[in-house]
């Protein structure tokens, strides 16, 4: 890892020695934890998750993680603490755990719409707070995550988080103002992709291909195209042109997409989700 060392109460320097806690054990928290486990970054025994009921916690225990109903225990046992409650529950939870928060803690909020300003107001002033927006494919190590740091968090915390989460996919530090945009682009964005994949497959079924096969091929097509974008670094417009032989099948199909104003519709979707994220944050 880069630069200096991360000081924790236990003197842990490596992510592997980190004790990681989750306050809230819902889908997003579970996805992140599963991703970390699969990547081998953190042993299950080092993960402690709390939730009000056992409903969500069963799955965690099955993976070998420790669980509790006591949020304070998570703070006492962990150095890196992910906050993953529902937004309306968070203020109460912060009030509850505040006494146990110390200078060794790194608090990372996954809670949609709750700003760093709010978090810092409800926690001790010097607390190292960061805000993370992941997406679901973290589960399969192909996530897209952005995080922003609060005033108490330094380069070391940012580097630790980035290094830890890069095992789950792409992880970039951004200004806080990008977080809602990330929601519109990639948080919700995976749903747009599922919709597109479904439509691709449906087109194939209409043309006579069995649905299961069509679905798998649709997914692989998206995966392959995305991989080419990431590995070649070429502009998608150029990659698109590379596939279009003059007068061929692809350009005919693309014309249909342009007629349907697909581009504008997608832009509308990203805009709508981003705006909704902003609106919800103000609630």
């Amino acid at each position: 890892s880069g630069g200096g060392s991360v000081r924790t109460a236990a003197g842990a320097m490596e992510a592997a020695e980190l004790r990681v806690g989750f306050v809230g054990a819902g889908r997003m928290a579970g996805g992140l934890a599963r991703g970390l486990l699969r990547a081998g970054k953190v042993p299950a025994s080092s993960i402690l998750a709390s939730a009000p009921s056992d409903k969500n916690l069963d799955a965690w225990r099955e993976s070998g993680c420790r669980t509790t109903h006591c949020n304070l225990e998570v703070l006492q046992e962990s150095t890196l603490v992910f906050l993953a409650t529902k937004p309306h529950v968070l203020p109460g939870v912060l009030q509850e755990i505040r006494p146990a928060v110390g200078p060794h803690h790194i608090i990372v909020s996954l809670v949609a719409g709750v700003t760093l300003q709010t978090l810092q107001r409800l926690l001790p002033a010097w607390t190292k707070v960061l805000r993370l927006m992941p997406n679901l494919p973290c589960v399969v190590q192909a996530g897209a995550m952005v995080f922003a740091r609060g005033s108490g968090a330094s380069d070391e915390e940012a580097a630790l988080l980035k290094s830890l989460l890069s095992s789950c996919g792409l992880c970039e530090e951004v200004p806080e103002s990008y977080i809602n945009i990330h929601t519109g682009l990639s948080g919700s964005g995976v749903a747009y992709v599922y919709l597109f994949a479904e439509a691709l497959a449906e087109g194939a079924v209409k043309m006579g291909m069995p649905g299961g096969l069509a679905s798998r091929i649709a997914a692989q097509t998206l995966l392959g195209a995305a991989k080419m974008m990431l590995e070649t670094g070429e502009h998608p417009a150029k990659l698109r042109g590379d596939v279009c032989t003059p007068g061929g099948t692809t350009i005919h199909a693309l014309h249909q997409l342009e007629k349907g104003a697909l581009r504008a519709t997608v832009m509308n979707a990203v805009e709508a989700a981003t705006k909704r994220a902003c609106d919800m944050a103000e609630d």
């Binding site: 502009h235 150029k238 007629k259 104003a261």
Partner: protein
């Protein structure tokens, strides 16, 4: 033309006799008549260049072969900005045109813009794109100027700026290795004015409209070509005075239209002839 020192004559035959490279620049329906008229005067040295949309090399060669065994024919598609030496020209060489003949034409047309050789079957697509293209650009420029005027610019300035913007963008693209998509991205700062504007263009299906336009122009060119191949020409397409002239110089010529009024009768126009 005479003002800039070009020799002028009313005789097609004279033009042919005193030329080596002969540009046929009449409207497509007239081409067959011109070929019949000047055919006898075409010699081995002549390079016949047709700029007529939709008129195939083989149709020209067929017409001329009755007069000349190996006519050199080149088919060309250019566009109006040749006037300002920024034309876009393509050409396809006929059966008996040599490589040097093509290169000669290319040299001539390259002096007024971009010129390259293509396979003949692409010429309709070129018509749709760069043949008609200036009209799309003029339409866009008119609308852009309207936008400028709406937002407070005087018309003349709006037109000047719009034209310069397109000129500059085109020049950047021609001089750049980058994809136009990348060049577009370079102009769009995050959350800025340009990306907001582009969203409007996309919502309106701007891209598909342009694709549709190129396609429509290309398809129409092919339709016109079919009509020409069948030599189905309505009298309205042929100006009476021109045909009278042709008739005077080539008494053997007859119109290939079956059901129409014959325009070559000495009787009054109201009497019909089969």
């Amino acid at each position: 033309l005479q003002k800039i020192g070009v020799n002028f004559t009313v005789s097609n035959k004279d033009t042919v006799k005193s030329s080596d490279v002969l540009f046929l620049a009449v409207k497509p329906p007239i081409i067959p008549f011109i070929l019949d008229e000047v055919g006898p005067d075409i010699e081995a040295r002549h390079i016949v260049v047709s700029c007529a949309a939709g008129v195939t090399i083989s149709s020209i060669e067929k017409k001329l072969s009755t007069f000349c065994p190996t006519p050199k024919v080149i088919r060309c598609m250019t566009n109006t900005p040749v006037i300002v030496r920024e034309g876009a020209t393509v050409y396809a060489t006929g059966t008996h045109a040599d490589v040097e003949d093509g290169k000669l034409l290319e040299q001539l047309m390259a002096s007024v813009g971009f010129c390259t050789e293509v396979e003949e079957d692409l010429i309709d697509a070129v018509t749709g794109l760069s043949g008609s293209g200036p009209a799309y650009a003029f339409t866009a420029l008119d609308a852009l100027a309207d936008g400028g005027v709406k937002m407070g610019l005087p018309r003349r300035l709006a037109v000047r700026l719009g034209a310069q913007a397109l000129l500059g963008a085109a020049k950047m693209l021609l001089e750049s290795e980058q994809h136009p998509g990348q060049l577009k991205d370079n102009v769009c700062s995050p959350g800025g004015a340009t990306i907001h504007a582009l969203h409007f263009l996309e919502s309106g299906g701007f891209r598909s409209l342009l694709i549709n336009a190129v396609e429509a122009s290309c398809i129409r060119t092919r339709e016109l070509q079919h009509l020409a191949d069948q030599e189905t020409i309505s009298p309205a397409a042929i100006k009476k005075t021109l045909l009278d002239k042709v008739k005077l110089e080539s008494p053997s010529l007859s119109v290939a239209s079956a059901s129409k009024v014959s325009l070559f009768t000495n009787k009054s126009p109201s009497s019909k002839k089969n």
